[in-house]
Symmetry: C2
Subunit: 398 residues, 2 copies
Amino acid sequence: MVSQNSTSQQSVGVVTPQFLQFDEPLTLSSGQILPSYTLAVETYGRLNAQRSNAVLVCHALNASHHAAGVSATDEKDIGWWDNMVGPGKPLDTNIFFVICINNLGSCFGSTGPASIDPATGKPWGAAFPVVTVEDWVSAQTRVADHFGIARFAAVMGGSLGGMQALSWAIDLPERIAHCVVIASTTSLSAQNIAFNEVARRAIISDPDFHGGNYYEYDTVPARGLSVARMVGHITYLSDDDMAEKFGRTQRNPAEDGRFRFGYDVEFEVESYLRYQGEKFSRYFDANTYLLITRALDYFDPGGRHGGDLTEALRPAQAEFLTVSFTTDWRFPPERSRELVKALLKNGQQVTYAEIDAPHGHDAFLLDDPRYHAVVRAYYQRIAASLNLESAELVQDAA
Amino acid sequence: MVSQNSTSQQSVGVVTPQFLQFDEPLTLSSGQILPSYTLAVETYGRLNAQRSNAVLVCHALNASHHAAGVSATDEKDIGWWDNMVGPGKPLDTNIFFVICINNLGSCFGSTGPASIDPATGKPWGAAFPVVTVEDWVSAQTRVADHFGIARFAAVMGGSLGGMQALSWAIDLPERIAHCVVIASTTSLSAQNIAFNEVARRAIISDPDFHGGNYYEYDTVPARGLSVARMVGHITYLSDDDMAEKFGRTQRNPAEDGRFRFGYDVEFEVESYLRYQGEKFSRYFDANTYLLITRALDYFDPGGRHGGDLTEALRPAQAEFLTVSFTTDWRFPPERSRELVKALLKNGQQVTYAEIDAPHGHDAFLLDDPRYHAVVRAYYQRIAASLNLESAELVQDAA
């Protein structure tokens, strides 16, 4: 392999997921016990001999283990954080070994409500246990064990993924050197919960939901899931971003440019949202949507310590990078600053970047140069502090 | 009647609506013609001999003609703007004669989709024409004519009601002396339209909607309408207000204070929203909800002049009072400032108050002393400029 210029960014290429099966029962926060489970996993880069260069990337609500590269089964399916993870990218897979795991309860190959319950031979449906962010982390530790990783160089995530990173830092302080929390929060606000509840009501009140057991009826609550996705989508974009992208631009106006005076699409923004909703309802499992929004609602490490976030964070040994975006009104900078303040109160190491970006919550997925420069610099620092070398350099030397 | 101290605030008392029937066809913005229509109307105070003291109050999405006082048929039914309208209140019915009209297409006694179409003998349903803010104003002019009011002392409204006031000022400049626009905007943003579209999709995709003709099936799309109301309700409250009112307070926690790990109500905010949604779905007509959100979407006087709001406002002869609220994220202060700037460009008279209030969009309905003081002072100025006297003073002199 020819050495690449370290500033050129490349794709990790074609990726094939692994499906790891865990047969030891997992006790969940609810007290329920999951007898066994599968997790879908992708990895990028190479684990070094010391197993010290592993980074766990945690996904948000609707994403999967497919964080980077091109799916082996669908060349159009590019990973959701492909601009962040790859050779020469901010999280440089020439240096780091990156793991991404589809969350337990999700619908992309990990065990979830659509999976067959071995006890009944039928899909779990409504009987699938409600899991928490902490449960995801418990499940993920077995993946770390599988790869023989005693301690991650970093655990990183955006939005709900950031909550998982935070949970790793608190619950497994010795297994994570750095915690990268992007566009996230330490607990949902009442407004956040309210939007989740609207989404859930839309799904649950859809007659095709059948109390969560729609698989048996050979249907899906597509209407409810579509509405749920539409309302979610609005919260991912900033008001300004929507104004810039769609404004009041009409779609299919009458010949004289006037409105059609009906409830079909009149504006571009309606067309966009309907499309997003319908597309989502074809590939995402409604029970998973319920489950993940509930995990978001429940997450509140401060709440577990009588509302004292500082106390909750005290066990963490990791160094933190926290990033927020000015126009993110789902998890605004103020929520990240709460985390930063609590860490500082504990005398813990934290780097905080508040990025002035117009794209709302979704900014964490986009290719913003200042944002990516911050993350790149932070990973270079991690690499230096852990004496990690680029795989290319190792190969060149060999 | 004994003279009251002018600073004491009283209720207008028990109110009985009038139902005014108009048999002259009304041509709508869509080109459709409504052969006849009824409008439900309440009035408070007394019209003076010169008919110069009339104020038209315009209602917002879900409200009615019952703006003040106690309903004659339900003593618990207090008018939606009772804190604003009454003897000694900011809009003082000792001085002004106040009219409030249920909008055409609404569901509280005015002709709308649930009314019987005389041509078919069945409810209009989906066949009821889509109306605009301008159509409401056209319909309202006949109420003014009915009372012999050539020129309103003021037309006033909050939110969608403010759009109607603005439309009066632009389309009927000689019939309105003052225009009071509160917590409103000159056009919806893409985000505003997006939330409306979510609400409409929730209603239309409810199987009980039956293409808008649910009356014939003896059902209502209660699930969809409930979701629509929930999402609307979130946009009426500020993030801070929801945090203050509900925070992350649990509802019905398990005995050990923990969560119940399911999709029933876990948080107060869920309980509140469900209650609001269900209550609304029992009294509001789903077709009216579609119709009014569409009227909101369409309103755009600037758009009718190639995007030039200043040009659109040029015909207005009224003096303006514009009020916005700092935490209103539905129609933020910025949107009111656009109106103020356009008026100033035209050299038109405008008073602008930006009220620092925590209650989001709903602040316009609440009893904020600074807000009410501004409105009170403005109406006192109107009274002085039009040489209006308190009915009490007239009576005392008699």
